[in-house]
Protein backbone atom coordinates (compact mmCIF):
# COMPACT_ATOMS: atom_id res chain seq x y z
CA UNK A 1 0.00 0.00 0.00
CA UNK A 2 1.25 3.50 -0.80
CA UNK A 3 1.45 6.83 1.01
CA UNK A 4 -1.45 8.92 -0.26
CA UNK A 5 -1.32 12.68 0.16
CA UNK A 6 -4.64 14.28 -0.68
CA UNK A 7 -5.26 17.98 -1.18
CA UNK A 8 -2.81 18.78 1.55
CA UNK A 9 -2.46 22.36 2.76
CA UNK A 10 -0.40 23.47 5.69
CA UNK A 11 -0.37 26.86 7.38
CA UNK A 12 2.08 27.65 10.19
CA UNK A 13 0.64 29.52 13.18
CA UNK A 14 -2.86 29.57 11.73
CA UNK A 15 -5.16 32.32 12.98
CA UNK A 16 -2.31 34.52 14.24
CA UNK A 17 -0.81 37.61 12.65
CA UNK A 18 2.18 35.52 11.70
CA UNK A 19 0.11 32.91 9.88
CA UNK A 20 2.18 31.61 7.00
CA UNK A 21 0.78 29.28 4.35
CA UNK A 22 3.63 26.91 3.44
CA UNK A 23 1.81 24.34 1.33
CA UNK A 24 -1.34 24.58 -0.73
CA UNK A 25 -3.44 21.81 -2.20
CA UNK A 26 -0.76 19.19 -2.80
CA UNK A 27 -1.91 15.74 -3.95
CA UNK A 28 0.77 13.12 -4.42
CA UNK A 29 1.19 9.38 -4.00
CA UNK A 30 4.37 7.61 -2.96
CA UNK A 31 4.22 4.12 -4.44
CA UNK A 32 5.58 1.02 -2.75
CA UNK A 33 9.27 0.62 -3.48
CA UNK A 34 9.61 3.64 -5.75
CA UNK A 35 12.31 6.29 -5.64
CA UNK A 36 10.60 9.66 -5.56
CA UNK A 37 12.80 12.73 -5.83
CA UNK A 38 11.54 16.04 -4.47
CA UNK A 39 13.06 19.21 -5.83
CA UNK A 40 12.28 22.85 -5.20
CA UNK A 41 13.95 26.06 -4.22
CA UNK A 42 14.58 26.79 -0.52
CA UNK A 43 11.23 27.89 0.91
CA UNK A 44 9.20 26.00 -1.69
CA UNK A 45 7.63 23.82 1.02
CA UNK A 46 9.76 20.67 0.60
CA UNK A 47 10.56 20.19 4.25
CA UNK A 48 7.00 21.03 5.29
CA UNK A 49 5.79 18.37 2.88
CA UNK A 50 8.08 15.59 4.04
CA UNK A 51 7.31 16.22 7.71
CA UNK A 52 3.72 15.30 6.90
CA UNK A 53 4.73 11.84 5.75
CA UNK A 54 5.22 10.57 9.32
CA UNK A 55 2.88 12.88 11.17
CA UNK A 56 5.48 15.30 12.55
CA UNK A 57 3.29 17.96 11.01
CA UNK A 58 -0.43 17.50 10.55
CA UNK A 59 -2.47 18.77 7.62
CA UNK A 60 -4.29 22.07 8.10
CA UNK A 61 -6.52 20.90 5.26
CA UNK A 62 -6.52 17.54 3.45
CA UNK A 63 -5.11 14.25 4.59
CA UNK A 64 -2.10 11.96 4.54
CA UNK A 65 -2.66 8.19 4.62
CA UNK A 66 0.34 5.92 5.19
CA UNK A 67 -0.66 2.40 4.13
CA UNK A 68 -4.21 3.41 4.94
CA UNK A 69 -3.32 4.88 8.35
CA UNK A 70 -4.39 8.48 8.86
CA UNK A 71 -1.59 10.61 10.36
CA UNK A 72 -4.15 12.68 12.26
CA UNK A 73 -5.02 9.68 14.46
CA UNK A 74 -2.86 10.09 17.52
CA UNK A 75 -2.85 6.41 18.45
CA UNK A 76 -1.60 5.41 15.00
CA UNK A 77 1.33 7.78 15.06
CA UNK A 78 3.85 5.37 16.58
CA UNK A 79 3.00 2.80 13.96
CA UNK A 80 3.26 5.38 11.19
CA UNK A 81 6.65 6.54 12.43
CA UNK A 82 8.04 3.03 12.32
CA UNK A 83 6.72 2.60 8.77
CA UNK A 84 8.19 5.88 7.58
CA UNK A 85 11.83 6.42 8.53
CA UNK A 86 12.87 10.06 8.41
CA UNK A 87 16.45 11.20 7.94
CA UNK A 88 16.79 14.92 8.48
CA UNK A 89 19.59 17.12 7.18
CA UNK A 90 22.80 16.54 9.09
CA UNK A 91 21.31 13.57 11.01
CA UNK A 92 24.56 13.21 12.97
CA UNK A 93 23.32 16.08 15.17
CA UNK A 94 20.73 13.76 16.73
CA UNK A 95 23.26 11.27 18.17
CA UNK A 96 23.12 11.27 21.96
CA UNK A 97 23.88 7.87 23.51
CA UNK A 98 27.11 6.70 25.10
CA UNK A 99 27.73 4.02 22.49
CA UNK A 100 26.91 3.66 18.84
CA UNK A 101 25.05 0.43 19.62
CA UNK A 102 22.74 2.07 22.16
CA UNK A 103 22.10 5.00 19.89
CA UNK A 104 21.11 2.78 16.98
CA UNK A 105 18.88 0.78 19.37
CA UNK A 106 16.95 3.92 20.42
CA UNK A 107 14.39 3.71 17.60
CA UNK A 108 13.66 -0.04 17.80
CA UNK A 109 13.34 0.23 21.61
CA UNK A 110 10.84 3.04 21.26
CA UNK A 111 8.86 0.72 19.01
CA UNK A 112 8.48 -1.53 22.04
CA UNK A 113 10.71 -4.35 20.82
CA UNK A 114 12.47 -6.66 23.29
CA UNK A 115 16.25 -6.77 23.77
CA UNK A 116 16.41 -10.00 21.78
CA UNK A 117 14.62 -8.42 18.86
CA UNK A 118 16.62 -5.20 18.99
CA UNK A 119 20.14 -6.68 18.98
CA UNK A 120 20.02 -8.33 15.53
CA UNK A 121 18.41 -5.20 14.05
CA UNK A 122 21.21 -3.03 15.38
CA UNK A 123 23.84 -5.34 13.98
CA UNK A 124 22.12 -5.54 10.62
CA UNK A 125 21.72 -1.77 10.40
CA UNK A 126 25.38 -1.14 11.23
CA UNK A 127 26.47 -3.62 8.56
CA UNK A 128 24.18 -1.99 6.03
CA UNK A 129 25.76 1.42 6.48
CA UNK A 130 29.23 -0.08 6.36
CA UNK A 131 30.18 0.24 10.02
CA UNK A 132 31.61 -3.06 11.23
CA UNK A 133 29.65 -3.88 14.44
CA UNK A 134 32.59 -5.46 16.26
CA UNK A 135 34.64 -2.33 15.67
CA UNK A 136 32.01 0.38 16.17
CA UNK A 137 29.32 -0.94 18.57
CA UNK A 138 31.10 0.10 21.74
CA UNK A 139 32.55 3.36 20.46
CA UNK A 140 31.07 6.68 21.51
CA UNK A 141 29.24 8.25 18.60
CA UNK A 142 31.04 11.49 19.35
CA UNK A 143 34.48 10.08 18.58
CA UNK A 144 33.60 9.02 15.04
CA UNK A 145 34.65 10.95 11.94
CA UNK A 146 32.10 13.14 10.17
CA UNK A 147 31.21 10.54 7.55
CA UNK A 148 30.99 7.74 10.14
CA UNK A 149 28.68 9.84 12.32
CA UNK A 150 26.39 10.37 9.36
CA UNK A 151 26.27 6.62 8.72
CA UNK A 152 25.70 5.79 12.39
CA UNK A 153 22.75 8.18 12.42
CA UNK A 154 21.39 6.53 9.28
CA UNK A 155 21.73 3.13 10.95
CA UNK A 156 19.57 4.46 13.79
CA UNK A 157 16.74 4.93 11.31
CA UNK A 158 17.36 1.72 9.36
CA UNK A 159 17.22 -0.36 12.56
CA UNK A 160 13.52 0.49 12.67
CA UNK A 161 13.25 -1.34 9.33
CA UNK A 162 11.08 1.33 7.78
CA UNK A 163 9.04 0.49 4.72
CA UNK A 164 9.59 3.99 3.42
CA UNK A 165 12.71 6.07 3.91
CA UNK A 166 12.46 9.84 3.66
CA UNK A 167 15.78 11.67 3.31
CA UNK A 168 16.40 15.40 3.38
CA UNK A 169 19.68 16.26 1.63
CA UNK A 170 21.41 13.11 2.90
CA UNK A 171 24.73 13.89 1.18
CA UNK A 172 25.11 17.50 2.36
CA UNK A 173 28.63 18.32 3.49
CA UNK A 174 30.21 15.03 2.36
CA UNK A 175 33.13 14.75 -0.04
CA UNK A 176 32.63 13.15 -3.49
CA UNK A 177 33.44 9.63 -2.31
CA UNK A 178 31.25 10.01 0.79
CA UNK A 179 28.39 11.14 -1.42
CA UNK A 180 28.76 8.15 -3.69
CA UNK A 181 28.78 5.77 -0.70
CA UNK A 182 25.53 7.16 0.71
CA UNK A 183 23.85 7.07 -2.71
CA UNK A 184 24.95 3.48 -3.21
CA UNK A 185 23.53 2.59 0.20
CA UNK A 186 20.16 4.18 -0.61
CA UNK A 187 20.05 2.40 -3.95
CA UNK A 188 20.82 -0.95 -2.35
CA UNK A 189 18.07 -0.49 0.25
CA UNK A 190 15.62 -0.11 -2.54
CA UNK A 191 16.90 -3.04 -4.60
CA UNK A 192 17.54 -5.51 -1.76
CA UNK A 193 14.77 -4.57 0.68
CA UNK A 194 12.20 -2.92 -1.55
CA UNK A 195 12.29 0.20 0.62
CA UNK A 196 10.41 3.12 -0.89
CA UNK A 197 12.66 6.18 -1.06
CA UNK A 198 11.65 9.82 -0.89
CA UNK A 199 14.69 12.03 -1.32
CA UNK A 200 14.84 15.81 -1.15
CA UNK A 201 17.93 17.11 -2.88
CA UNK A 202 19.39 20.20 -4.46
CA UNK A 203 21.61 18.02 -6.60
CA UNK A 204 19.71 17.61 -9.84
CA UNK A 205 22.29 15.13 -11.06
CA UNK A 206 21.68 12.78 -8.15
CA UNK A 207 17.92 13.04 -8.50
CA UNK A 208 18.11 12.57 -12.27
CA UNK A 209 20.32 9.53 -11.83
CA UNK A 210 18.24 7.62 -9.30
CA UNK A 211 14.63 8.82 -9.14
CA UNK A 212 11.77 6.98 -10.85
CA UNK A 213 9.63 10.05 -10.51
CA UNK A 214 10.32 13.63 -9.50
CA UNK A 215 7.95 16.01 -7.73
CA UNK A 216 8.66 19.70 -8.31
CA UNK A 217 7.52 22.14 -5.64
CA UNK A 218 7.29 25.85 -6.22
CA UNK A 219 6.09 28.42 -3.67
CA UNK A 220 4.14 25.81 -1.72
CA UNK A 221 2.39 24.20 -4.68
CA UNK A 222 3.12 21.08 -6.65
CA UNK A 223 4.29 22.36 -10.03
CA UNK A 224 4.47 18.91 -11.55
CA UNK A 225 5.28 15.31 -10.87
CA UNK A 226 6.62 12.98 -13.52
CA UNK A 227 9.51 10.94 -14.83
CA UNK A 228 12.92 12.65 -14.92
CA UNK A 229 12.48 12.87 -18.66
CA UNK A 230 9.16 14.75 -18.31
CA UNK A 231 10.43 17.02 -15.59
CA UNK A 232 13.71 18.01 -17.19
CA UNK A 233 12.04 18.71 -20.52
CA UNK A 234 10.59 21.73 -18.67
CA UNK A 235 14.05 23.20 -18.23
CA UNK A 236 13.00 26.81 -18.85
CA UNK A 237 10.35 26.67 -16.11
CA UNK A 238 12.75 25.00 -13.69
CA UNK A 239 15.33 27.72 -14.26
CA UNK A 240 12.64 30.33 -13.65
CA UNK A 241 11.95 28.77 -10.26
CA UNK A 242 15.61 29.26 -9.38
CA UNK A 243 16.39 25.56 -9.75
CA UNK A 244 19.45 24.11 -11.41
CA UNK A 245 19.42 21.56 -14.20
CA UNK A 246 21.30 18.28 -14.39
CA UNK A 247 24.65 18.95 -16.03
CA UNK A 248 23.71 16.88 -19.09
CA UNK A 249 20.57 18.98 -19.55
CA UNK A 250 22.67 22.15 -19.19
CA UNK A 251 24.93 20.99 -22.01
CA UNK A 252 21.95 20.07 -24.19
CA UNK A 253 20.62 23.59 -23.74
CA UNK A 254 24.02 25.13 -24.49
CA UNK A 255 24.33 23.04 -27.68
CA UNK A 256 20.82 23.96 -28.82
CA UNK A 257 21.58 27.62 -28.26
CA UNK A 258 24.55 27.15 -30.57
CA UNK A 259 22.38 25.69 -33.31
CA UNK A 260 22.99 21.99 -32.80
CA UNK A 261 19.76 20.04 -32.93
CA UNK A 262 19.33 17.52 -30.15
CA UNK A 263 15.91 15.93 -30.04
CA UNK A 264 16.02 14.23 -26.66
CA UNK A 265 16.10 16.07 -23.35
CA UNK A 266 19.00 14.16 -21.87
CA UNK A 267 19.47 14.26 -18.13
CA UNK A 268 22.20 11.66 -17.76
CA UNK A 269 25.75 12.28 -18.97
CA UNK A 270 26.25 8.71 -20.25
CA UNK A 271 23.29 8.98 -22.61
CA UNK A 272 24.34 12.38 -23.86
CA UNK A 273 27.87 11.07 -24.41
CA UNK A 274 26.54 8.18 -26.50
CA UNK A 275 24.45 10.57 -28.57
CA UNK A 276 27.40 12.88 -29.24
CA UNK A 277 29.76 10.03 -30.08
CA UNK A 278 27.04 8.56 -32.33
CA UNK A 279 26.72 11.84 -34.18
CA UNK A 280 30.46 12.05 -34.70
CA UNK A 281 30.73 8.51 -36.01
CA UNK A 282 27.62 8.87 -38.13
CA UNK A 283 28.81 12.07 -39.76
CA UNK A 284 32.03 10.34 -40.67
Amino acid sequence: MPIIIEQLSHTYLPGSQLAYPALGDVSLTVQDGEFLGIIGHTGSGKSTLIQHLNGLLLPTVGSVLVDGLDTREKKLRKQIRSLVGMVFQYPEYQLFEETVERDVAFGPKNMGLSEEEVAPRVEEALRLVGLNPSEFSEKSPFELSGGEKRRAALAGILAMRPKYLVLDEPMAGLDPLGRREILALIESLRLDYGTGIVMVSHSMDDVAMFADRIAVLDKGSLFMVGSPEDVFSHSAELLDMGLNLPQATQLVRALRERGIEIQKDYFRMEELALDLIGRWNHDR
Binding site: G85, Y93, F96, N110
Partner: protein, 268 residues
Protein backbone atom coordinates in the same frame (compact mmCIF):
# COMPACT_ATOMS: atom_id res chain seq x y z
CA UNK B 1 8.76 32.20 12.33
CA UNK B 2 11.16 33.13 15.08
CA UNK B 3 12.15 36.36 13.39
CA UNK B 4 10.55 38.43 16.12
CA UNK B 5 12.10 36.71 19.09
CA UNK B 6 15.54 38.18 18.71
CA UNK B 7 14.16 41.68 18.75
CA UNK B 8 12.27 40.88 21.93
CA UNK B 9 9.29 43.16 22.17
CA UNK B 10 11.08 45.92 20.31
CA UNK B 11 8.80 47.91 18.07
CA UNK B 12 11.05 49.79 15.64
CA UNK B 13 10.13 53.43 15.27
CA UNK B 14 11.39 56.96 15.03
CA UNK B 15 9.54 58.75 17.83
CA UNK B 16 11.14 61.07 20.37
CA UNK B 17 11.00 58.26 22.89
CA UNK B 18 12.75 55.90 20.47
CA UNK B 19 15.49 58.42 19.89
CA UNK B 20 16.26 59.05 23.54
CA UNK B 21 19.63 57.75 24.66
CA UNK B 22 19.18 54.31 26.24
CA UNK B 23 20.98 55.51 29.35
CA UNK B 24 18.45 58.32 29.66
CA UNK B 25 15.63 55.86 29.25
CA UNK B 26 17.00 53.64 32.00
CA UNK B 27 17.30 56.73 34.24
CA UNK B 28 13.76 57.88 33.34
CA UNK B 29 12.50 54.42 34.12
CA UNK B 30 13.96 54.69 37.62
CA UNK B 31 12.31 58.08 38.15
CA UNK B 32 9.02 56.76 36.81
CA UNK B 33 9.10 53.83 39.21
CA UNK B 34 9.83 56.24 42.05
CA UNK B 35 6.83 58.35 41.03
CA UNK B 36 4.55 55.34 41.00
CA UNK B 37 5.65 54.38 44.49
CA UNK B 38 5.53 57.89 45.95
CA UNK B 39 1.93 58.47 44.95
CA UNK B 40 -0.44 57.76 47.83
CA UNK B 41 -3.71 59.58 47.32
CA UNK B 42 -6.30 58.72 44.74
CA UNK B 43 -6.41 62.16 43.15
CA UNK B 44 -2.64 62.37 42.71
CA UNK B 45 -2.75 58.96 41.01
CA UNK B 46 -4.16 60.77 38.03
CA UNK B 47 -0.72 62.26 37.40
CA UNK B 48 1.22 59.04 36.68
CA UNK B 49 -1.79 57.75 34.72
CA UNK B 50 -1.72 60.86 32.55
CA UNK B 51 2.05 60.57 32.32
CA UNK B 52 1.77 56.99 31.06
CA UNK B 53 -0.83 57.98 28.48
CA UNK B 54 1.44 60.83 27.37
CA UNK B 55 4.43 58.50 27.02
CA UNK B 56 2.39 56.04 24.95
CA UNK B 57 1.30 58.90 22.70
CA UNK B 58 4.81 60.33 22.36
CA UNK B 59 6.23 56.89 21.61
CA UNK B 60 3.47 56.27 19.06
CA UNK B 61 2.91 52.84 20.53
CA UNK B 62 -0.60 51.55 19.79
CA UNK B 63 -2.81 51.06 22.84
CA UNK B 64 -3.10 47.36 22.05
CA UNK B 65 0.47 46.94 23.32
CA UNK B 66 -0.69 48.29 26.68
CA UNK B 67 -3.08 45.37 26.98
CA UNK B 68 -0.71 42.78 25.61
CA UNK B 69 1.89 43.87 28.17
CA UNK B 70 -0.66 43.29 30.94
CA UNK B 71 -1.96 40.02 29.57
CA UNK B 72 0.61 37.69 31.17
CA UNK B 73 0.07 39.57 34.45
CA UNK B 74 -3.69 39.33 34.56
CA UNK B 75 -3.95 36.58 37.19
CA UNK B 76 -1.39 38.28 39.40
CA UNK B 77 -3.41 41.50 39.16
CA UNK B 78 -6.64 39.74 40.06
CA UNK B 79 -4.89 37.92 42.89
CA UNK B 80 -3.38 41.11 44.35
CA UNK B 81 -6.70 42.87 44.10
CA UNK B 82 -8.62 40.12 45.88
CA UNK B 83 -6.01 39.59 48.60
CA UNK B 84 -5.92 43.28 49.44
CA UNK B 85 -9.68 43.55 49.29
CA UNK B 86 -10.21 40.90 51.95
CA UNK B 87 -7.06 41.11 54.01
CA UNK B 88 -6.81 44.83 54.64
CA UNK B 89 -8.15 45.95 58.00
CA UNK B 90 -10.25 49.12 58.20
CA UNK B 91 -12.90 50.91 60.18
CA UNK B 92 -15.46 52.02 57.58
CA UNK B 93 -17.29 48.81 56.77
CA UNK B 94 -19.04 48.85 53.40
CA UNK B 95 -20.13 45.28 53.16
CA UNK B 96 -20.42 42.43 55.62
CA UNK B 97 -21.52 38.82 55.19
CA UNK B 98 -20.63 36.04 57.59
CA UNK B 99 -16.84 36.28 58.02
CA UNK B 100 -16.32 38.62 55.05
CA UNK B 101 -15.84 42.31 55.72
CA UNK B 102 -15.07 44.78 53.03
CA UNK B 103 -14.01 48.16 54.24
CA UNK B 104 -13.45 51.43 52.44
CA UNK B 105 -9.75 51.26 53.32
CA UNK B 106 -9.53 47.78 51.81
CA UNK B 107 -11.12 48.88 48.54
CA UNK B 108 -8.77 51.84 48.32
CA UNK B 109 -5.76 49.71 49.12
CA UNK B 110 -6.75 47.10 46.53
CA UNK B 111 -7.23 49.75 43.86
CA UNK B 112 -3.90 51.43 44.68
CA UNK B 113 -1.90 48.23 44.61
CA UNK B 114 -3.46 47.03 41.38
CA UNK B 115 -3.14 50.39 39.71
CA UNK B 116 0.50 50.62 40.80
CA UNK B 117 1.23 47.23 39.28
CA UNK B 118 -0.51 48.18 36.04
CA UNK B 119 1.48 51.42 35.87
CA UNK B 120 4.74 49.63 36.56
CA UNK B 121 4.24 46.89 34.02
CA UNK B 122 2.92 49.16 31.29
CA UNK B 123 5.62 51.76 31.97
CA UNK B 124 8.53 49.34 31.89
CA UNK B 125 7.15 47.72 28.75
CA UNK B 126 7.59 51.10 27.06
CA UNK B 127 11.33 50.80 27.67
CA UNK B 128 11.61 47.45 25.89
CA UNK B 129 9.10 48.47 23.21
CA UNK B 130 11.07 51.54 22.18
CA UNK B 131 14.64 50.39 22.80
CA UNK B 132 16.31 47.63 20.78
CA UNK B 133 18.01 44.96 22.90
CA UNK B 134 21.32 46.07 21.39
CA UNK B 135 20.81 49.67 22.45
CA UNK B 136 19.72 48.51 25.88
CA UNK B 137 22.85 46.37 26.18
CA UNK B 138 25.02 49.29 25.08
CA UNK B 139 23.30 51.56 27.58
CA UNK B 140 23.80 49.11 30.42
CA UNK B 141 27.44 48.61 29.46
CA UNK B 142 28.06 52.36 29.52
CA UNK B 143 26.20 52.83 32.80
CA UNK B 144 28.13 49.98 34.39
CA UNK B 145 31.51 51.01 32.99
CA UNK B 146 32.54 53.13 36.01
CA UNK B 147 32.32 49.86 37.95
CA UNK B 148 35.15 48.48 35.84
CA UNK B 149 37.59 50.14 38.20
CA UNK B 150 36.26 47.70 40.79
CA UNK B 151 37.05 44.87 38.35
CA UNK B 152 33.41 44.55 37.45
CA UNK B 153 33.29 42.86 34.00
CA UNK B 154 30.95 45.37 32.36
CA UNK B 155 32.12 44.75 28.79
CA UNK B 156 32.11 40.98 29.15
CA UNK B 157 28.58 40.99 30.55
CA UNK B 158 27.35 43.18 27.73
CA UNK B 159 29.05 40.95 25.13
CA UNK B 160 27.45 37.91 26.72
CA UNK B 161 24.05 39.54 26.50
CA UNK B 162 24.66 40.44 22.85
CA UNK B 163 25.63 36.88 21.96
CA UNK B 164 22.75 35.41 23.94
CA UNK B 165 20.28 37.64 22.09
CA UNK B 166 21.80 36.58 18.79
CA UNK B 167 21.72 32.85 19.53
CA UNK B 168 18.39 32.40 21.32
CA UNK B 169 16.41 32.06 18.08
CA UNK B 170 19.07 29.82 16.53
CA UNK B 171 19.02 27.46 19.49
CA UNK B 172 15.24 27.44 19.59
CA UNK B 173 15.13 26.34 15.97
CA UNK B 174 17.74 23.75 16.73
CA UNK B 175 15.73 22.38 19.66
CA UNK B 176 12.72 22.03 17.42
CA UNK B 177 14.78 20.24 14.80
CA UNK B 178 16.33 17.76 17.23
CA UNK B 179 13.00 17.13 18.90
CA UNK B 180 11.46 16.27 15.56
CA UNK B 181 14.37 14.03 14.61
CA UNK B 182 13.95 12.06 17.85
CA UNK B 183 10.17 11.94 17.47
CA UNK B 184 10.76 10.41 14.05
CA UNK B 185 12.67 7.68 15.92
CA UNK B 186 9.65 7.06 18.12
CA UNK B 187 10.60 9.30 21.05
CA UNK B 188 7.60 10.35 23.10
CA UNK B 189 7.73 13.67 24.94
CA UNK B 190 4.09 13.88 25.84
CA UNK B 191 3.12 10.93 27.99
CA UNK B 192 4.24 9.63 31.36
CA UNK B 193 4.72 11.31 34.72
CA UNK B 194 7.03 14.25 35.28
CA UNK B 195 10.12 12.06 35.88
CA UNK B 196 9.52 10.02 32.76
CA UNK B 197 9.05 13.19 30.78
CA UNK B 198 12.23 14.70 32.16
CA UNK B 199 14.07 11.53 31.22
CA UNK B 200 12.58 11.59 27.73
CA UNK B 201 14.25 14.99 27.21
CA UNK B 202 17.76 13.49 27.38
CA UNK B 203 17.80 12.59 23.67
CA UNK B 204 17.08 16.26 22.96
CA UNK B 205 19.28 17.88 25.57
CA UNK B 206 22.46 15.92 24.85
CA UNK B 207 22.56 16.80 21.14
CA UNK B 208 21.50 20.36 21.98
CA UNK B 209 24.41 20.80 24.40
CA UNK B 210 26.84 19.16 22.02
CA UNK B 211 25.71 21.51 19.30
CA UNK B 212 25.76 24.56 21.56
CA UNK B 213 29.36 23.81 22.52
CA UNK B 214 30.30 23.33 18.89
CA UNK B 215 28.66 26.62 18.01
CA UNK B 216 30.41 28.35 20.90
CA UNK B 217 33.73 26.99 19.69
CA UNK B 218 33.16 28.10 16.12
CA UNK B 219 31.87 31.50 17.18
CA UNK B 220 34.93 32.02 19.36
CA UNK B 221 37.11 31.24 16.36
CA UNK B 222 35.15 33.60 14.12
CA UNK B 223 35.39 36.37 16.74
CA UNK B 224 39.14 35.88 17.15
CA UNK B 225 39.53 35.95 13.39
CA UNK B 226 37.85 39.31 13.45
CA UNK B 227 40.44 40.62 15.88
CA UNK B 228 38.29 40.41 18.99
CA UNK B 229 40.53 40.77 22.02
CA UNK B 230 38.23 41.87 24.81
CA UNK B 231 36.99 45.36 25.59
CA UNK B 232 40.46 46.94 25.68
CA UNK B 233 40.91 49.52 22.92
CA UNK B 234 37.55 48.69 21.42
CA UNK B 235 35.46 51.45 19.86
CA UNK B 236 31.77 51.40 18.99
CA UNK B 237 30.17 52.24 15.69
CA UNK B 238 27.09 53.61 17.41
CA UNK B 239 28.25 56.21 19.87
CA UNK B 240 25.93 57.05 22.67
CA UNK B 241 25.50 60.81 22.86
CA UNK B 242 23.25 62.89 25.02
CA UNK B 243 21.07 65.41 23.21
CA UNK B 244 18.87 68.27 24.37
CA UNK B 245 15.90 65.89 24.45
CA UNK B 246 17.69 63.71 26.98
CA UNK B 247 18.27 66.66 29.29
CA UNK B 248 14.77 68.07 28.88
CA UNK B 249 12.99 64.77 29.49
CA UNK B 250 15.15 64.03 32.52
CA UNK B 251 14.49 67.47 34.02
CA UNK B 252 10.79 67.16 33.24
CA UNK B 253 10.33 63.81 34.88
CA UNK B 254 12.48 64.73 37.87
CA UNK B 255 10.39 67.86 38.47
CA UNK B 256 7.22 65.80 38.25
CA UNK B 257 8.63 63.49 40.90
CA UNK B 258 9.51 66.42 43.16
CA UNK B 259 6.11 67.97 42.48
CA UNK B 260 4.32 64.79 43.48
CA UNK B 261 6.36 64.44 46.65
CA UNK B 262 5.39 68.01 47.59
CA UNK B 263 1.75 67.46 46.66
CA UNK B 264 1.57 64.39 48.85
CA UNK B 265 3.01 66.38 51.77
CA UNK B 266 0.39 69.11 51.41
CA UNK B 267 -2.71 68.59 53.46
CA UNK B 268 -5.49 68.20 50.90
Amino acid sequence: MTANISLGQYLPGDSVVHRLDPRTKIFLMAIYIAIVFVVKSLLVFLLPVLLLVAIFLFARVPASYFFSALKPMKWLLVFMFVINLFATQGSTVWFEWKFIHITQEAVEQAVYITLRLVLLVAGTSILTLTTSPIALTDGLEKLMSPLRKLRFPAHELAMMMTIALRFIPTLMEETDRIQKAQMARGADFESGNIFQRAKSMIPVLVPLFVSAFRRADELAMAMESRCYHGGEGRTRMRELRFHARDLISSLLLTSILIGIILLEKLPL
